[in-house]
């Protein structure tokens, strides 16, 4: 039975929806955010009974180094009394916009994002290997949705998927699994129905159901239930969305 999770998140809305299915299962979830205001917003978004099992971790002032990140994750896992699940939820950015806005800084930006992915997974991996169990989950937004106006991060996504596949091979002897969870079309809750969206998304399926992100995020349960028996996979939560890996 899964009891504890550490969620690294760069976006409160994403953090809130990803931690909710775990909290609803009775897990305790440490959620790392950038500042106390984000933590307050997260707790405000969660129902009170779920919020009680949510532990915000603020680590804004820590430089991204192996030692610092190792210490942050280690301390959280001590509070959690274990670490069954680690989720690395980088924000869903539009790389084309970033490249246009700051061509000189684009490479550095990608480098920083990938470095965080490596350092946090390394820190979580150290603990899980010691415990000889654990699951890492890397949520992504499918990068083929750009034509419908969704932010698309093909560089980060493809790097993360290759990273997941490599790390999965290395950690399998320790019963630690690593998977990517790729979301397809979904909508904000302020759109009352999926009908407005359906026509727009017909490229991959005829009039697909377009779930709210909260509904889509429940798909994380697939991995919470069966993730111990699969590793190096990219689980796609969407209708008709093709693999984003070529």
């Amino acid at each position: 039975m899964l009891k504890s999770a550490y969620l690294y998140a760069e976006d409160v809305a994403l953090a809130s929806e990803l931690c909710r299915p775990m909290l609803e299962r009775g897990m305790t979830v440490a959620v790392q955010l950038g500042d106390p205001a984000q933590a307050d917003r997260l707790l405000a978004e969660l129902p009170e009974e779920l919020g009680r099992s949510c532990m915000p971790v603020i680590a804004a002032d820590h430089p991204d180094s192996i030692d610092n990140i190792g210490e942050i994750v280690e301390r959280a896992s001590e509070s959690l009394q274990g670490l069954d699940v680690y989720i690395h939820a980088a924000s869903w950015e539009d790389e084309a916009s970033l490249l246009n806005k700051d061509p000189e800084g684009f490479g550095m930006h990608i480098e920083r994002r990938l470095r965080k992915l490596f350092l946090y997974c390394q820190a979580a991996g150290q603990i899980m290997v010691r415990l000889r169990k654990g699951q890492m989950i890397i949520p992504l937004l499918s990068d083929v949705l750009h034509a419908s106006g969704f932010p698309s991060s093909p560089v980060y996504n493809q790097a993360a998927i290759a990273f997941v596949r490599s790390l999965a091979k290395e950690l399998s002897p320790f019963s630690v699994t690593v998977n990517a969870l790729e979301f397809g079309y979904c909508r904000d809750s302020d759109f009352p129905s999926s009908r407005q969206w359906r026509k727009q998304f017909e490229i991959f399926a005829l009039r697909p159901h377009v779930p709210e992100f909260r509904e889509a995020a429940q798909g994380i349960g697939l991995l919470l239930d069966y993730g111990h028996a699969m590793s190096g996979q990219t689980i796609r939560l969407g209708i008709g969305i093709p693999s984003s890996t070529i």
């Binding site: 192996i66 990608i110 480098e111 470095r115 093909p154 290759a162 990273f163 596949r165 290395e170």
Partner: protein
């Protein structure tokens, strides 16, 4: 009666990591097909001299620049010099790359950073420096040399696999952004190729690899170069944002 026109006659190609392995094989084939070739190499002057002699022996025009693709100022000035010298840039082959293998939990930040810098930032710098010239011509092709590690992952290569995965993403991103400029962007993903990169690979690892490879042999740099030339010339004019696997039927 018309004579045979080499596929790249009158074209100018830039190849990074030009002095060895796939880079050298690609340069020699481009020269043989009539292209003028400019190349970047980091340090091996002897290999650069050898390439220059080989190019001259077939009457090819080659211009070599010593420096690192990590350095955006160097890459920008190099591309500018190529354009000034030859008057155009038709093909960019982003081949330069490095490995620093280590199991992920033991990997240092330096090992991670070095591989990402060379393999990801280097490609971004070279592509960004070449694209304005290609866009001015309304034509051009970039071929990125990624790896099956970037598709399937490989143990002790989280850094290399992530970097080569990022390169697949860059291929898709640049293809989308520059299709309207007449620029195509594709990639090749070689499997185990018989080059210097295999130095240090244990016999048992190699045997294990070949056991999972349908054709039961290593690939050659020339075979990869042939695929790069195919993607770079008019025969693949309708292909962009694609990755061509060259792995002998690698199964994992």
């Amino acid at each position: 009666m018309g004579g045979y026109a080499p596929a790249f006659a009158g074209q100018v190609a830039v190849v990074t990591g030009i002095t060895r392995g796939i880079g050298r094989a690609t340069a020699m084939k481009l020269l043989a097909q009539g292209a003028a070739v400019a190349g970047i190499y980091v340090s091996n002057d002897e290999a650069a001299m050898s390439l220059r002699e080989a190019a001259e022996s077939i009457g090819g025009r080659v211009r070599l620049y010593k420096g690192s693709v990590d350095d955006p100022a160097f890459v920008r000035s190099m591309m500018e010099d190529v354009y000034t010298t030859f008057g155009r840039i038709d093909v960019l082959v982003n081949n330069a790359g490095r490995t620093q293998d280590q199991m992920a939990l033991l990997m240092t930040e330096e090992q991670w950073d070095a591989v990402i810098a060379a393999n990801v930032k280097g490609v971004i710098h070279a592509s960004q420096a070449a694209i304005p010239y290609m866009a001015r011509q309304r034509s051009g092709c970039i071929v990125n040399v990624t790896s099956v590690s970037g598709l399937y992952g490989r143990e002790a290569q989280t850094n290399y696999a992530a970097s080569k995965g990022a390169l697949i993403g860059l291929t898709k991103l640049f293809a989308r952004l520059h299709a309207a400029d007449g620029i195509r962007v594709c990639a090749v993903a070689p499997g185990m190729i018989d080059t210097d990169m295999l130095t240090g690979l244990s016999e048992s690892k190699l045997e294990d690899f070949l056991q999972h490879t349908l054709v039961k042999r290593l690939g050659t740099a020339e075979e990869v170069a042939d695929a790069i030339l195919y993607l770079a010339d008019g025969r693949s004019a309708y292909a962009t944002g694609q990755v061509l696997k060259l792995d002998g039927g690698f199964l994992r």
